[in-house]
Amino acid sequence: MAVDESRADPVEDKSWISVTINGSKQDYLVEQRLSLADFIRNQVGLKGTHLGCEHGSCGACTVIIDDRAVRSCLMFAVQSDGSSIETVEGLAIDGVLSPLQESFQANHALQCGFCTSGFLMSLVARLREGPIDTESEAREALSGNICRCTGYSGMVAAILEQSNSIQGIKENS
């Protein structure tokens, strides 16, 4: 890819954005061409969002923006201006794992853990839309992300256990 020679110094193009990240709102001066993933990782310093392909296929970089699961490698930081971003760092509260995170651990749904943040964020967004009750729904919910270590079985089990316990809570209340 050729660089536009009239503009040999692309670093100069910066804009201010205002974003809410895991509940706290802040303004940032960002380069126009900075990807949202690199912004979250390097400028905000939240390294839990990972990059596995940088072309929108693996899902490792998934974050939630205004309630939708989004691949942060496919967006520029400037496009997130005014939005609310949730990352994996926001899931556990005061170091206490969320029930989904706990089910992941109990069901050995992660090995190297590199893909895990992306799966968790995809699932959190999906579970907000409604429960996942069957194995095929669970697989569908997982299918936008790639894991090379686990073979997905532990994740399927974790999701089903998770939604059963939510169902259980609902039925008992």
């Binding site: 392909c53 072309h55 968790l120 997982l142 992300n145 270590c149 399927v156």
Partner: protein, 783 residues
């Protein structure tokens, strides 16, 4: 679990054998993992690499002038700037007959594959570094490329390396018995040609190297997400002319998958730390996915021409296999094809064997071990032939296997060939009939055949495939562990090997806690830092459980005897009257008389400055053990799959998948099952989806996940698992490797199942992966 009693007599095993949840998980689940690109390298410059766009070319000139002018670019290095380190990167496994071609860290004159590094740009950040890569001007003289073993062997065809006389890297023959005579006399001989293509490792995290040089201590610290930290340190020390103590190699606490490619040694690992020392400024380089596709080693195609001879009852008499292996542009190691050679006979009694390797150079990225490492190819070939024998004799595939299996009373069983570790291929233990019958019982073959017949009558095509394997694991030369009583009274286990998701921090705490007899919460496991333990080999070839496991065990036992001796001295009693539990040592008959581990640390580690201690009191409570296996230990397993093939679309649906697995004693069943499940997914990828395709001029055709299909949760069913436990007699824990067994038999089982499904069409399945296109060709395009 019953097998635990075998581990050690008189031992109270409380942790080993339990599926304990992993200590690693909380940090990984909360985004607090420490992967290489997550480390706070904020003052580091970042590097990007210009890679050859041609499969074969001479670099005529390189002009970096425009790139250097770009604001934010710090420096650019090419081979001409790196003369002192332009040294050979030797193969991991070699052979006296290897037609050796030197592999340099960067291209000096000839680029021999697309992706070979030519220049390194160092800039303030990766964005600028990549811009600068695009501004470097290179004049190439392109040369004819060789992009397959078939092309490599063509008489008078182009050569992969200019000036070399042959594209053959090595030609090796191994024989057992008298295969030529047996082929002449065997009542039945059948032949086939198979082409099996594997793919890449595709750890979701790419490779990465960062380094810092401290001019005061003259210490070079290298962070490298390698599977083999001590190996990399040794390579660097040799190339740089430094001692091993001047280089600290740290494999980060978390590594995002390995699968083999990260166990190899690459030019980038040589160049980045070196330029750090030249620039006197830290630098990091993290591979992106495109680079991973074109520059990380992978496995690719093998073409096998196989013949088997057998008698009327289906007993194997002779196996002859001649295969071409794609070595890529350089020989990074011969481990993959030599493993293929010795994996072929599998669990069967075969009196006469001829296994012949013709390994070829091609102008494609080098090949090396990848989960399964040459075994899935061998197993596919052998298991396809077992099915063909069954078909030839009109027998059930399970029955033909049953008649040929090595029996449990035949161990140790000498196959008559050599394994890749140089030792005779001698299986230490196993129970292959238990694996076969375990699968047969669970599948209910009689019922399946009824279902299959009924489905066929409705125009649906179901097939059953079986596939068995034996896998050499736990190879040498050694692995190390250091166990220490810390001054605060805890136990610290330091491993030489570094994990990439296998849960070492959990498993080896289980082993140490049981060996010493302390509360597991007092045990902490660290790994991957060469400054903490002087020697090690690394995580590859399913070797760590069976090498580091015994090392941890032995070091812990030694430490335990020290703890008891100190306590005996303090309590003024005999060692034999003592027991260990929780955080203390006590007199068994008077449990209130006890000393805490903390007290022992105070006396023996901290000491009183300048004061003498009793002669018999052990001091400095730390023990290191290196476990040196005498030979490989042999895991085994079976895969059974039932598929349905759609003859309209060529789509394969896996209706059932079953895996039987034997890796001896199991330290943590949850983690072992995880390894099998993950390996199984990889096997399905190899069977149906994953293919690193190249054009005839060596251009890679799959360089993103849009054109290289990694299986997702939709494609990978959850297999049913069962275990057989044949503990190895060759190590104190009775363990064998488990990292690859899920992958190895699956492609063969799927191929067998698909041919079984398509039998009404007379289809011959001879090529993997079974993409829809290949399936349709097998159905409609044969005579």
């Amino acid at each position: 679990m019953s097998q635990i009693s075998e581990i050690k007599e008189n031992l109270t095993v409380t942790n080993i054998g339990r599926g304990m949840i992993r200590r690693e998980d909380p940090r990984l689940l909360t985004g607090q993992g420490k992967f290489i690109d997550d480390l706070p390298f904020s003052d580091f410059y970042e590097a990007a690499i210009l890679r050859s766009p041609h499969a074969h070319a001479r670099v005529v000139s390189i002009d970096t002038e425009r790139a250097l002018k770009l604001s934010g670019v710090i420096a650019i290095y090419t081979a001409a700037d790196l003369e002192p380190i332009m040294k050979d990167l030797p193969p991991k496994v070699s052979h006296p007959k290897l037609n050796y071609q030197i592999r340099l860290p960067m291209v000096k004159e000839y680029a021999n594959y697309v992706g070979e590094p030519i220049a390194v740009v160092v800039a303030e950040n990766r964005y600028i570094a990549e811009d600068a890569v695009d501004l470097i001007e290179i004049e190439y003289e392109t040369l004819p490329a060789v992009a397959s073993t078939h092309a490599a062997l063509r008489k008078g065809g182009p050569k992969v390396h200019i000036g070399s006389e042959s594209n053959v890297a090595v030609h090796i023959i191994q024989k057992a018995g008298d295969p030529e005579a047996a082929l002449k006399t065997a009542p039945h001989v059948i032949r086939e040609t198979f082409k099996i293509t594997r793919g890449g490792g595709h750890s979701i995290e790419g490779r990465g190297v960062a380094a810092r040089f401290d001019p005061i201590t003259q210490q070079l610290t290298v962070w490298d997400n390698t599977q083999a930290p001590h190996y990399v340190r040794q390579m660097l020390a040799t190339i740089y002319g430094m001692t091993e103590d001047e280089i600290r190699l740290i494999a980060p606490q978390d590594i995002g998958g390995g699968f083999g490619p990260k166990a190899q040694f690459y030019g980038e690992e040589v160049v980045i730390p070196w330029i750090v020392m030249q620039m006197k400024h830290p630098v990091k380089w993290v591979e992106d996915r495109w680079e991973n596709f074109i520059s990380a080693t992978m496995e690719r195609s093998q073409t096998h021409r196989v013949e088997v001879g057998f008698d009327e009852d289906g007993h194997l008499l002779v196996l002859k296999d001649v295969f071409e292996h794609d070595q890529g542009a350089y020989c990074v190691g011969l481990q993959v094809p030599t493993i293929t050679m010795s994996t072929l006979p599998g669990p069967y009694v075969i009196p006469n064997i001829h296994s012949e390797l013709i390994s070829c150079y091609t102008n494609i990225v080098p090949t090396s071990s990848l989960r399964g490492a040459g075994r899935p190819q061998a197993v596919t070939v052998m298991e396809r032939m077992m099915d063909r024998i069954a078909e030839h004799l009109g027998m059930e595939p399970a029955e033909i296997r049953r008649r040929n299996l090595i029996q449990p009373d035949q161990f140790p069983y000498a196959v008559g060939l050599l394994f890749r570790d140089g030792s005779p291929l001698t299986y230490d233990s196993g129970n292959y009939p238990a694996l076969l019958e375990g699968a047969v019982d669970r599948i209910d073959i009689v019922k399946f055949r009824r279902d299959q017949a009924e489905a066929r009558s409705q125009g649906r095509f179901l097939g059953l495939g079986l596939s068995m394997y034996v896998e050499g694991t736990g190879i040498g030369p050694y692995e190390g562990a250091r166990v220490r009583l810390t001054n605060s009274g805890k136990i610290l286990v330091t491993l030489a090997a570094s994990p990439q998701g296998q849960g070492y921090e959990t498993v080896y705490a289980q082993v140490a806690a049981d060996a010493i007899g302390v509360d597991i919460d007092l045990v902490e496991v660290r790994h991957g830092d060469t400054s903490s333990i002087p020697y090690g080999q690394g995580t590859f070839a399913s070797r760590v459980t069976a090498t580091a496991g015994p090392a941890v065990w032995e070091a812990s036992e030694l430490l335990k005897s020290d703890l008891l001796a100190v306590a005996a001295s303090l309590l003024k009693c005999d060692v034999s009257s003592l027991a260990l539990s929780g955080n203390s040592v006590f007199i068994e008959s008077e449990p209130e008389r006890r000393v805490l581990l903390y007290d022992i640390a105070l006396v023996s580690n901290v000491g009183r400055h300048g004061m003498s201690v009793p002669r018999d009191l052990p001091i400095a409570i730390e023990r290191t053990a290196y476990f040196k296996p005498v030979q490989a230990v042999y895991s085994s397993g079976i895969s059974a799959v039932i598929v349905e093939v759609d003859p309209e679309t060529g789509k394969i649906e896996i209706l059932k998948s079953l895996l039987g697995h034997d890796c001896g004693n199991v330290l943590n069943p949850m983690i072992v099952e995880g390894q099998i499940l993950g390996g199984h997914a990889h096997g399905i990828g190899n069977a149906i989806y994953e293919e690193a395709r190249y054009s005839e001029d060596g251009q890679p055709q799959a360089v993103s996940y849009l054109d290289y299909a990694l299986p997702t949760a939709i494609e990978v069913p959850t297999p049913e698992l069962f275990h057989v436990f044949s503990p190895s007699p060759l190590n104190p824990l009775g363990v064998k490797g488990a990292g690859e067994g899920g992958t190895i038999p699956v492609p063969g089982a799927v191929a067998n199942a698909v041919e079984d499904a398509l039998r009404p069409f007379g289809s011959r399945i001879c090529e993997l992966p079974l993409t829809p296109e290949r399936v349709l060709r097998a159905i409609y395009d044969h005579d």
